[in-house]
Symmetry: C2
């Protein structure tokens, strides 16, 4: 890897091996959202730089969302990645490129892409087992289908918001204990779910399937995702058609989409599967698509959990193969998420439902406070990194959100 | 109601009281999709006519989808409805209007709006009870929440298609009887669900709720919907997060969106509810939003069922109030559907799962064939009408689809 002419902070997680994409505005021109690539503590105005240098992909980058670039497909993603690397390393280009660098602290980040459909999976065995024990104490923790397919459902695409957007506490029906009928009010069990999201670029036609090896032809990149969840609303409503209002009020995503091509050194083998999977999901003879992404969940500035993504039972390749095996088409901007990332240890659980065992074991914070579920004013920040080449880190930045009181 | 200068077929369900909206192309200009209003056996090129007559709303109609018109809000919907009525009744305008009429048989209909989020409810007590008995024979047919809220879930917006689009038989996992593990293959239990869909025009902000009386401020109109369902895939996958691949391969909608304003004479009281609903769902003191829409389900040209929409337990006003009570925002183009419309009698059931009682009681067709679930080549057509003023009918047209073999 050549060296950047731009001075990068030591050990930056946004080095030349990362180069994630986002959409930003500046105070000088708050109406014009631009595609930017992050490098160190700067954002490169990608379209402007491409235009200045006569790059053939300038036009698809000159939009207020990533969608046209996502739709262009993998050869274009790779071509632009090579171009950006050249722009930042070829000192002869420095005079042309440098004017298009914006300090990250001057920028406001926006939702980086228009979300088409949003699908949320449920692919951590630890999470699914823990939730099963709490939601269905009289049954097997894992439903009989769980080890045969990545269970998932469609969420609300219209309420996917960018990191930093406040989240209003939802109201809804809940059934308290042995009450004869439900009551209505603000959720008392507002929770997070720390997840990893995958952004589809290349669409498919109806009836087309995406086999396991084709993941990188369709998925452009990876973000962090907080699937805010109202556990009391969810527990009462979810039978038999699944979560609805307990989830649909907000889903937050990180502003930076890390290209899948930046995660080559993060690929690891997923855990062994038993029983064996059906052929369309069997990745035992494929290059593994497990990813060593290390999440940190922060509450009001304190780390409360460090969920390891590497232990997820199903990979993104399996999720995409499953999602399309019935012939359902993909659109540019489709977003699918891993489901809550939880490891085997308590301090690796990716939601408060699990961390506090349904509220029975509060989490103690260093400031003397404790939490079962989220209180108004709480600020959640989920961050992550993955191993890069040469011992470096590939950073995902963070997805944050503060809880606002219900608007009843 | 004044009389049209245009000669309309006797007893047409597309008279001046209806005036539904769609999007069409003609063979003369197959690349230019236009917004059209149906009247009798003709389509009025709405934007061209508005432009010719200097109507102030010409611009929002001059698009290949209804979305800009939907976004304009109810006063605009009503203004354009008044304008169209004037154009078709004022004989002085006939020379200017008549050139913009296209025979309906010359037109190809397209998906009339870009679907934002798609939500499917489950609001027929008869359907939910029947499905509960078949899917969960050891439990109460209705889950405990069912009579307290309109149960719903998000479907796949990207696979909503217009009537006439062929439907490829999906493949997926199913669990046969007491087999130890699932098998993969084309669905053997491909089914339909005859439903009524509601199209959102006016969006809301996050945290805003849509109370019962505000339905008509947000919902522009009504269509027919076929929620194709693979029952074997669905039965195996749906626990605990609800239907996913058993539904996501295709959802068909009729090409004509009947304005809610055309259904004033179809409003009826919904059935009594016991137990009483929570205040945000209690419509006992509201103008009723039950709708007397009479559906017909046809298979290969034979009527197999006539589901009555008037008996639905929850109305669209309640569905919308519920969907937004947690603060989830609405977008222009959101589509929500009633759930399968089934009446109390066998010949009123809106899907083959119920009509054949999970395949155990085949439906005999007049041609000597019988059906449990759909076979390749089968053509389904769902049509409907509602009472209009003066004994006339408001027609919804139909939503059709033919089953193509799996593409395994």
């Amino acid at each position: 890897m050549p060296t950047a002419w731009l001075e990068l902070p030591e050990d930056t997680p946004f080095g030349l091996n990362n180069l994630p994409y986002g959409v930003y505005t500046t105070p000088q021109d708050p109406e014009t959202a631009c595609v930017g690539v992050r490098v160190g503590d700067h954002i490169l105005d990608t379209a402007a730089c491409a235009q200045a240098l006569g790059d053939p992909n300038a036009d698809i980058l000159d939009h207020p969302t990533l969608n046209p670039f996502l739709a262009a497909g993998r050869p274009t993603w790779q071509a632009v990645r090579r171009s950006v690397t050249t722009w930042l390393t070829d000192t002869a280009l420095r005079p042309a490129v440098e004017p298009h660098l914006v300090p990250v602290e001057d920028a406001t980040m926006h939702l980086p892409f228009e979300v088409a459909d949003y699908v949320d999976f449920y692919s951590s065995e630890h999470h699914a087992t823990n939730v099963g024990k709490m939601f269905r104490p009289d049954a097997e923790a894992l439903t009989p289908n769980w080890k045969h397919m990545p269970i998932g459902y469609h969420g609300r695409a219209g309420t996917v918001v960018v990191s930093g957007t406040p989240v209003i506490r939802p109201a809804g029906q809940r059934m308290d204990g042995d009450d004869p009928s439900p009551v209505f009010g603000p959720s008392r069990r507002l929770d997070i779910e720390a997840e990893v999201g995958f952004v589809v670029g290349t669409p498919t036609r109806t009836g087309e399937r995406v086999p396991l090896p084709a993941l990188a032809d369709h998925v452009f990149g990876v973000c962090l995702l907080n699937d805010w969840s109202a556990r009391d609303i969810q527990a009462w409503e979810y039978r038999p058609l699944g979560p609805f209002l307990g989830k649909s009020f907000a889903t937050s995503v990180s502003p930076w989409i890390v290209p899948l091509d930046a995660l080559a050194t993060a690929r690891v083998s997923p855990p062994p599967r038993d029983p064996a999977l059906l052929p369309y999901l069997d990745d035992s003879k494929e290059e593994p698509w497990g990813l060593d992404i290390r999440l940190t969940v922060g509450l009001n500035g304190y780390t409360v959990s460090e969920p390891p993504f590497s232990g997820m039972y199903y990979t993104a390749a399996q999720q995409l193969a499953h999602m399309t095996v019935n012939g359902a088409s993909l659109r540019t901007g489709d977003l699918f998420a891993s489901g809550t990332v939880s490891g085997p240890e308590r301090e690796q659980r990716g939601c408060f439902l699990e961390l506090t065992w349904a509220g029975r074991e509060p989490v103690a914070l260093p400031d003397g406070n404790q939490r079962t579920f989220l209180e108004d004013g709480d600020e959640v920040a989920i961050s992550a990194w993955a191993p890069g080449p040469d011992g470096g880190r590939i950073g995902f930045g963070e997805v944050t959100g503060r809880v606002l009181p219900a608007t009843l």
